[in-house]
Symmetry: D2
Subunit: 168 residues, 4 copies
């Protein structure tokens, strides 16, 4: 069983045709799993639905606490790309090194999208397939799955000019 | 570096509007990698472009030989779903158990799609993201990545009634 | 009020992922009208759901009879492109010249698609918008609306090599 | 020959994945005509590429002057929906009543979209098919083609709560 924790981000933005702006309504994750004919046993929980630029330290801590308390040892988090690295750091510090802690060691994979899923040209479905697979195959730790790769939480940055995740 | 070997399958079928039939032209894999903003170092090689129901033993052996000869130790193969399990078996027998062989042990992941990528409702992009990730994270062996899961080559069948891959 | 009579055709074909073939299930016309934010007062009636190559003379006559009996004076018919011209001829002969008949003169517009609506690259939505508009603006008569144009029923053929409707 | 004058609007907005905002780059009209397999003889000219809320009186006058000077007697204008009615009024006043003027009487149809074409759920392709058809079939005058209908320039408003064009 894999927990999928939804926090919002570009992934889930959609076009509000009355205001002409990008907003959030409901998560697209369930629809995306259906499209991917996904048969992994998952539990989708929506924690928040916000732009990651607006995520506070308290929000990040709430995500980390949820990961710590969740019965699942494998977790995927959908998240805005702008502060994904910061949240990964909070997760790593809260859940501690898997070998030393008294908690069950967990594999946590954050992912997101550069383009909203509702757009034809979104990378979201590719990233969700990638994140779910890394969550199943990687040893305990906190990772970011973007651009088809998995990065350790302390060895990654978002290059804001190219929109690509890379080693620092 | 990951090799992506293209063999055809539903993945790459497209609609021929003059004949009203589903046919092959060129692979969509490169376009899909672009859509997924994939930054994994890949080499895409088209071996054949056929429906897997028409794949012969000689075709399967040619795929296995290409895997054996390829310099990459991690390989993704796009393949029709109908005989994906048969090709996985040929691959496992040709490349041998990774521990015993004199060849470099390889991680080979077969994937495909239930619906052509050119259709809006395709699982192809999800599966490609999944297969590329499993190919990076799994130990040497031959696997099938479908429905968000990775199956060992000798522990999987396609359920033809549900269209889902599962343990036998 | 415009009647939309559904007969099938490429328009409504969809991919059966278990058999790997193109088949019919339900019409997409209602979903397409929703996507087009259409506010024309329409009545959608499904007469048959077949490939137009399999349409018999009796089928064509049934369509013509439905047009004659329908209370609406403006009608759009979705139809396979291969025999659209034949059905248009049956309609024109059955409903007669608008000036001479004792029936209410009607504007009937046949349309279809070269690529199923369910494919990303379909011309269906464009054609439906076109056909509904011609049905409102053209004088009584039988027309084919394809490729952004409206053709009189007796001045059109489908060019099978280019897939385009044109004057003979 | 029909002139298609591009002014921007939601129609042509696209997602900038580096800034996370909706912006303009190039018009999608040519790609849409290709998708619709359109064989109407058209001349696409990009006059401006702006949100219609930012359109000035000078911009509207420039559009009207272009219509007046253009050799084509049938014109489609793609335009943001928010001030489409205002531009239609400027066009009607500049080009005058078709019967009284010394200019060639013209059929001018404004259209747009509630959702950008680049989104899967756009009404743009439906509206473009509709506008091109009304432009061919309606007598001289200035019209707005939205929601599958054609409205005379002085008998229409955009209902901002429902996002639908309707008689006042």
């Amino acid at each position: 069983m894999i927990a999928i924790l939804v926090t919002g981000g570009t992934f889930d933005k959609q076009y509000n045709e009355l205001t002409g702006t990008l907003t959030f309504r409901e998560t697209h994750v369930t629809e995306m799993l259906r499209l991917g004919r996904c048969r992994v046993d998952v539990s989708v929980r929506q924690l928040m639905m916000i732009d990651s630029l607006e995520m506070t330290d308290a929000d990040r801590q709430a995500i980390a606490d949820t990961c710590q308390r969740s019965p699942e040892s494998r977790i995927v988090i959908t998240h805005g790309t702008d502060t994904m690295v910061e949240t990964a750091m909070t997760l790593a510090k809260t859940l501690g090194p898997p070998e030393g802690g008294h908690d069950q060691p967990k594999t946590i994979v954050l992912t997101g999208a550069m383009v909203p899923y509702a757009f034809g040209s979104s990378d979201g479905l590719f990233n969700l397939g990638s994140a779910l697979s890394f969550a199943q195959a990687l040893p305990p730790g906190v990772y970011i799955a973007m651009n088809g790769r998995a990065f350790a939480w302390d060895d990654v940055r978002k290059n804001r000019e190219s929109g690509v995740f890379e080693e620092p």
